[in-house]
Symmetry: D2
Subunit: 318 residues, 4 copies
């Protein structure tokens, strides 16, 4: 039997019917109804019904950015959707005849990698999803680490620097403030608007009168512009330092780097690996982990959400 | 049936016969044979045989400071005992007719708290043991977090300050460099040898010509000396900042503070609580955890080691 | 003979006729012509002519926020006025029959304190002007420290935290990012928009729907609100840490704290003093400096600019 | 007429008769009498008498590591010589018929560079002397910056990292803790005793059973060993960051790098230059200073001390 995975993003909702092997049978996308919770719920229900049509479906996993509670039923806090304490599971189940589990989006993506992608064959995995923010997920001993209140794995809020850069979470110095796509773009804008010769190419790429865009930064990286590459390396260094610190806590076998920024590949991964080694506590007296790129390109969220629903709805032996 | 717990410290080896409810039936101590691995193994075997005499024993748990591998069989690295890659389990089992599991000492102490002490009733617990160093242990979903290579939960090596104080692990800025008993004593010595008026009482307590001792610092704290209390509060602040950062990763329900320095009670715990709240990411948008003192005074290591052996040797259902 | 002092601020231009004892004979204010350099020059000339009318005037000192060159003739960079490499002295002298010297505004304010205010009787003084930003000035051996290119004393850009908060200068971790009025307001807004109980009073003071204003933060401080006072103390702690670091470089006898935020008096100065002592290198083995409040309320800029013109235009003996 | 310069080091006392052009006419060395203040004074007097014999001498400048008071008469604190509040000038003058001025050793070395070496032609110079510690000196507008209590220019105690590495001055995070010869050796020892492949060559150079020596580190650098060069570059980066921060305060035209470690030349200077540019506040909107190596090899201390005595004893015009 198949499961349905739904991934609610800031601009679009993706949905897929997924089989037990992680293959997408059928998929669909909708724009996210902005600022209208009821319309969003209706849109999700419509999408599920469409995907389920004519199929026997085991259940639905819904991934969203935010804090999900330990029962995987309620959204405690979703900054993008302006939701607090939203009983999302019960609202969906009230209109559907299918069981629903709610999941954090970074957890869903990590689960897809763990089961069908870069993490296959490992039991202890950490994933960092470098997009607008820095999402995190921890799989220990083959289980998703959820924590006491459901919100473990918020690795973007590991503190890197006391009194450091402001983070959207209200604190200072979080990893996300140094190593997200947003942080990269901010650093690139600062470089472009300075007189630093390293910002020369970024200044050229910037369309007249407008602020630098993420796309332009990405072009500069692909061209091999030393200025933009320097920023990417610095970002990688912060990520590697975070991996070293996380190793002391979690001791994973593997760290998977995903998200939009990870398309930079080894240009990002090599600095991560090198900073990890440089900052690893008791280096040389312990095994060293692997740092690799995510394998999924687009469907990690829906595939992971569907498979987590499958795991969560499976009969328990003990 | 009972289990035996052994706790190998730098100066003494403690052993106890422990029942299924965590009660100590019988116990014994020996001095640690210094720098002689074979003598140490013989001493541990002698202790086990003595404790086991006339009893039906399920198995033995041996706790030691250091990195234990994921099979709980080999000591990868034990700085105090100068051991690397020591096949401790097989050496002991070769001379005993009992199954043996090896365990990190901070894990053993945390397990005692989790099963029979401050952590009873919780499923997601973090423990920080503030002794000479800072030991750590993580229990998630009622299981000891071991990680891919057996050395998860080394929370003393979470990095607090980039380019910060030197740590014994070879890195800079680890929690242990700011919040261990050693760090407290070092700070107290510096204060006593300065001209700072806040060091007045420490200077008086210091025996003529000798360096300040940990006992003298403890006396100053108990007297309420503002200088010594200030150092303790600073130490508590670092621990609270670490708890806030760990919350992002692990999201525990409870943090237990143990070890020799924790006898300071709320003088230490209050600054931990207050720094935790001040540095908690997304404070106000999530539940807050409890920070409480350990309940065991002396036997956490042996009781936890014995009970972890029991858990580890129990028949598996799935 | 009198001198004229002009102080060009972001919103208004102040001018005064000042005697050799630092007393204001006559004064005048105008709004700053926004974004129109020529209009600004005309306004300054009009103001000078009005103040000079019927008086024998020795010369004119003009203070502006920005980098002034070593010849005190050209404005290298004035962020608020969008000026770069502006030959301000020659433009003014072209239309006036008076000698003109250009001066940094924080230098002018410090000179007024040094000659006629809090710094009287000292020869080595540092001043920190805490307004929107953090202005600085250094007087060593009774002379204004100008540096090789005219831009010494930019004390707001002493780095306090590697990889710290972003500063308007393009760097991270500058003092100004932690201890300016802007930084205080930013911290207060963050506290008010959190769920932290310490932000309760700030939330009440905030007018419905609008962002917190500086005036509301000031009210909270005056009421003794612990939340707002905590922010002020933290700001004071950063300033004291900066003073300790500056002492290693400059070894002044006295530090004068001025600017809008300094009206908080000892609520700000006490935390500065205490952090200075805590962070002073080789404390106890050296004299300790005085940290006191500025005495001028409004006219420091014009009085200092006028007197610096007098000093600068005086005949040189050697 | 000639002056005599004396430079009291931890292991030897150097003395020279120096002419008005900075040339050494005659020189002499003695071992420093350890731990015996009276013997040291006698040794210095003997050395002066010997150098002065048959010459008409204007005066004597004596350089020593430590805090010298503003009257250049008393040694407030000299850690190496265990002196506090030593009236050195009067003790020497009591037994000599020559005027004596006391000077900090880093100031003396800087003055030699300023007058006769790398700083010729500039008026605003900073010098960093990288030896066992980090000495500093500031020349502004052609004058030695002494500060209100005589101890300005202690640039090794500029704070680089809050809560950073311990410094001998009792504080944390001082430049000296990151960029002195001692810091370099400590970092090299740590690298050699780790399992890090980058420490391979240092491990080979280390004589069996003994700790790594400074000479061995220097050999590794000269061979081009990437591990040792990496440490030197990191040290250079800290120095460059310090120069950037000092620029905000002092705005010098030139920074001279001297002391034993500076023999590494551009291997050290290039990382200093590059970190300076990267961390310069308002980069691109201001002139950039020069960073160059010291020219004196051995005699900077005695030549500078002698010439500072000459300047100090010259008749004053104003």
């Amino acid at each position: 039997m198949h499961c349905i995975g739904i991934d609610i993003g800031g601009t679009k909702i993706a949905g897929a019917l997924v089989d037990a092997g992680g293959s997408v049978i059928r998929q669909q996308r909708l724009p996210t109804p902005a600022n209208d919770p009821d319309a969003l719920i209706d849109a999700v229900i419509g999408l599920i019904e469409e995907l389920a049509e004519g199929e026997e479906v085991l259940g639905v996993g819904v991934a969203a950015a935010g804090f999900i509670d330990a029962q995987q039923a309620n959204i405690i806090y979703a900054p993008n959707l302006s939701w607090r304490n939203e009983p999302f599971k019960s609202k969906l189940e009230a209109k559907l005849s299918l069981p629903v589990v709610i999941e954090n989006d970074a957890n869903a993506a990590a689960w897809a990698e763990y089961r069908f992608g870069a993490g296959v064959g490992f039991r202890h995995m950490v994933m960092l999803t470098i997009g607008t923010g820095v999402g995190g997920a921890v799989i220990t001993d083959s289980k998703m680490l959820r924590g006491g209140f459901g919100i473990a794995g918020e690795l973007g809020h590991l503190r890197m620097v006391p009194n450091g850069l402001l983070c959207g979470c209200g604190q200072n110095g979080c990893l996300e403030a140094y190593a997200s796509g947003t942080a990269l773009l901010k650093a690139a804008k600062a470089l472009a608007s300075s007189s630093d010769p390293a910002g020369q190419r970024l200044r050229e790429l910037q369309s007249g009168g407008q602020e630098l865009s993420g796309q332009e930064v990405y072009s500069a990286i692909q061209e091999g512009d030393p200025g933009a590459l320097g920023l990417l390396q610095e970002m990688g260094s912060w990520l590697g330092q975070a991996v070293a610190s996380l190793t002391a806590v979690l001791d994973p076998e593997i760290v998977v780097i995903g998200g939009g920024v990870s398309v930079a590949g080894d240009l990002l991964l090599d600095p991560i690996r090198s900073a990890y080694l440089e900052h690893l506590p008791a280096r040389g007296f312990r095994p060293e982990l692997k740092i690799i790129a995510a394998e999924f390109v687009n469907n990690a969220g829906v595939v992971g959400a569907a498979d987590l629903a499958r795991v969560s709805l499976a009969p328990k032996v003990n």
